[in-house]
Symmetry: C2
Subunit: 550 residues, 2 copies
């Protein structure tokens, strides 16, 4: 049995070790076009910024160990240029010796990953960088040591761009981020990223969204200025291209395998050719949430898929389950996570969804150090099945995201979320954990106990005379800032002042986080009013409209 693997990092290296564990006697060859196998891609930005001080830490499993422990024939600097399915061989270009040869396989695993998208006009610039390989970061580190680099421009505010911008800022660079979409981290609903945008600004990072880089002023192969879609020109000592990644599917496509955006595989990670498996950033897999294929270029799925592919190729039997789509990013002291769908995604899929937003502390309020976090939960408007969640905050974000990811994986509903039995002691959570709070508020909506409304809808209704906006906070809170046109009646006075409210209008109530206005709505409802609770209250409003002054 001869197993050949193309690509030697997350999926490929995982496939190789698992193939060996599954089959002690198989011949296993791992081809990698780069110089290194099994390196920590996800650590690269942190090495650039010195958070990870030692380059060595990035080398997870060394070539040497693949040989000794796993008896795997590792061939680096070896680019696979063709799959010859007719004779079950691959064509390999040996970059070291500049030679080409064919290698046969019984089972082939394609783990070619993805590559960064690069603006054509910056392609060969001496001061243009990607952050994708050890070669890339070595080049960055060397140039930083040699040249005077002060002005950095990061093109693309996705995960890698944001991590890199943070790290560049940490080492003192003057940093500008340019993002084509309307907001940073565009995988997220905009309001969830606004707290982070605020911190970026505080840190001195300039952020330009809704703008693209259209050209560059290049002198001696050095990009001196970038030309933006708004006509602006900005100076740069170094340009970082983090405007997305492209799956490396050409090999597969040319071999006639079924490829959409990514290579199509079944749950065994088998391509349309049963002797060829594929895994990692090069494949697409099915979403648990939508039931359709999605392309999720992330390390968790890549490693698990590689394991499944390696096992099955070697004669074992493993299955890769549908994905939730879970991701997280740290930006300075913020964490922002997403599991399943964003609201935007629910909307564009035409789902009949509803949303709740809560802002509880990450642990008991009476225990010092609690940090507020925001959970935005999307769910089916009839069944309560969880579609997705976004979580932002400074502590405990990953926990809530993972709990909801597990709930989505299991097909749970918001009626389950409100009943979860989670661990509680004051340093870790509240008796009603934030996830449970999100579940309760969602379930209340579906049970018809409360009608909720999101800030963006309230914004649209600001001048609508059929609606009356009621601020149920204290006068002090109201004075400090409120929604234009809102009338203030504190919740605790509401029963006595109910006659001040117009009987002919719909009431939109809000408070600090939605808790008091929820109660206000219940009182109003009992008194015959048609009332909406603005989800997450003033805190949500400020996330949606941080720049609105009133």
């Amino acid at each position: 049995m001869k197993i050949v693997i193309v690509g030697g990092v997350a999926a490929g290296a995982s496939a190789a070790t698992k193939a060996r564990r599954t089959n002690e006697s198989a011949q296993i060859i791992l081809f990698e076009q780069g110089e290194y196998v099994s390196f920590a891609n996800c650590g690269l930005p942190y090495y650039v910024g010195g958070t990870i001080p030692k380059r060595d830490s990035l080398l997870v499993v060394r070539e040497e160990l693949f040989r000794k422990r796993y008896n795997i024939d590792v061939r680096v600097l070896s680019q696979v240029t063709k799959i010859n399915r007719d004779r079950k061989t691959i064509t390999v270009f040996d970059r070291k010796n500049n030679t080409t040869y064919e290698e046969s396989y019984d089972k082939l695993i394609i783990a070619t990953g993805a590559r960064p998208f690069v603006l054509p006009f910056l392609k060969d610039c001496k001061n243009s960088y990607t952050c994708f390989t050890l070669y890339d970061v070595d080049r960055i580190k060397e140039d930083f040591a040699k040249k005077h680099v002060k002005k950095a421009v990061v093109i693309g505010a996705g995960y890698i761009g944001m991590e890199l911008a943070e790290q560049l800022c940490e080492i003192g660079l003057d940093c500008t981020i340019i993002e084509l979409k309307e907001s940073i981290l565009p995988q997220f609903d905009k309001e969830m990223t606004n707290p982070i945008l605020d911190t970026l600004t505080t840190k001195g990072i300039k952020v330009k969204t809704g703008i693209s880089v259209t050209d560059a002023k290049i002198e001696d192969g050095v990009a001196k200025k970038l030309v933006l879609s708004n006509g602006e020109e900005i100076e740069c000592d170094a340009v970082f291209q983090t405007a997305g990644v492209i799956p490396n599917v050409e090999l597969a496509r040319e071999a006639g395998l079924e490829v959409n955006r990514g290579i199509v595989v079944n749950s065994k990670m088998q391509t349309s050719d049963p002797d060829i498996y594929a895994a990692g950033d090069a494949v697409e897999v099915r979403s648990i949430v939508t039931g359709t294929n999605v392309w999720i270029p992330l390390a968790g799925p890549a490693n698990k898929q590689g394991r499944v592919a390696g096992c099955n190729a070697a004669g074992g039997d493993l299955e890769f389950k549908d994905v939730v789509g879970s991701s997280i990013i740290k930006v300075f002291d913020w964490a922002l996570a997403k599991v399943g769908l964003s609201e935007n995604e629910c909307k564009s899929l035409g789902l009949d969804y509803n949303v709740t937003i809560v802002h509880p502390l990450h642990h008991a309020g009476y225990y010092p150090g609690g940090k507020q976090l925001t959970i935005k939960l999307m769910f089916d408007n009839k069944t309560g099945r969880i579609y997705g969640a976004e979580v932002v905050g400074k502590e405990g974000v990953d926990k809530r995201a993972d709990v909801i990811a597990t709930a989505i994986y299991a097909g749970l509903t918001v009626f389950d979320l409100e009943n979860l039995d989670l661990v509680y002691a004051p340093p870790f959570s509240s008796a009603k954990d934030p996830v449970i709070m999100a579940g309760m508020t969602a379930a209340n909506i579906l049970r018809g106990e409360i009608k909720n409304i999101l800030p963006d809808r309230v914004y649209e209704l600001l001048d609508n005379k059929e609606y009356f906006i009621l601020d149920v906070r204290t006068p002090e809170e109201y004075e400090f800032g409120h929604i234009k046109g809102a009338v203030n009646i504190p919740v605790d006075d509401l029963r006595g002042r109910i006659n001040e409210l117009p009987r002919d209008k719909k009431i939109i109530a809000y408070c600090g986080v939605g808790f008091r206005s929820y109660h206000a709505c219940l009182i109003l409802k009992a008194n015959g009013f048609d009332c909406f609770n603005m989800s997450g209250g003033w805190t949500s409003w400020r996330m949606y409209y941080p720049d609105l002054v009133e």
Copy 2:
């Protein structure tokens, strides 16, 4: 509609507010025998130790707010002494005015909680304390301010005892813990608590397990010395009684309601009398894991049950789902969590279970600051259904516990755990999260890929000639400490030295955490050996047998 609630803290106060939210016009009366409603029981030890500096923080919802916002008639210092089901009234003893009266109800909610177990011979000692109410901690704080208190003895090393001991140590007391059972935090399997025991010792806390307090030398109402079951006598300035809690079920029992250990309720939190609901520490509920009734005196269930009881009593319709049994405790920089069953519990229930132990870092190894955590996962030996888990470590413990709690709630198996799609970025996790690692190792056992063995079984086999113990770590690691009689062949040399192993014996392999020995076992298996992997390796061994010298 008149709703009467007995007990005004976690379950009772939750029931009251939820009843109001469900029914704006009901009359709601909340009876509390103590001075305060809605206080943070769980914060009490932290107030004693000053971690929570302000007493005020412990008052979650004030009497005043219950009146104003919730229109609830709160009656403190009012002890309910009898339930008169025949005429649907309760008898109330007004402690302030020393009077007794009857109050009628349409629906009654019993939320009487639990009380601390107190050793009879210490009952009236001036320097004996419980830590259960604000009155208790006020007394502690006052006495600490007035008297010279240096030597503290904590009786009972459960959650409250341990939190209290930590806090007493933080304020400089000389602290001794006495625990009847064989180990501290006896809800857990012993080895999971050993790292904490070690820290207690380092902090100067003396821990005596397997020992009870049998008597006291009392002078002028002050306990000067405690007499222990081993004959020892220890001096004490202050004694803290944290040796367990007893459910307050007498009212219910005397009223003829069905009571086992706790009051019996259905999923609506209804007792055997449909007009009487019960919630909190006074009730027992069904376990998702075992399907039998369990008594879980914790705040999470209490609050959720109170909510359900309050809703249903007020005419709503909510259901309380079966519990997982989830808890966590912080002890100095350790966190220790449990969800579902411990191994001991699996054993005593006679379940056909298996166990895996893993010790991964709480986040990616190449990102600085990763802390090792230990997950011990119990699962059905055939189906892989998760029975329970214990997690100990310094970071990320609560997250892993909550993910597994959610998995148990959803009835997932270890085959699901290995497939969870959890959020990953280097500061938060690894591409294969510790929970996924636990899932993979468990699933491998059930798939028959590897046979595992726990340290305590290995210990029993130490002198058994049919077994050969193989240490596959490096010679350096081996020299530093190893299991008695183990022979060292590093995993990476194993293929070449396989003839050094006895063909007529079963091999028990171990390494640092179980990963290398897993691979070693696979190599040996492929070569015809019958091989067992010691789960969690040397790290587990040291947890099981910290004092064993070799």
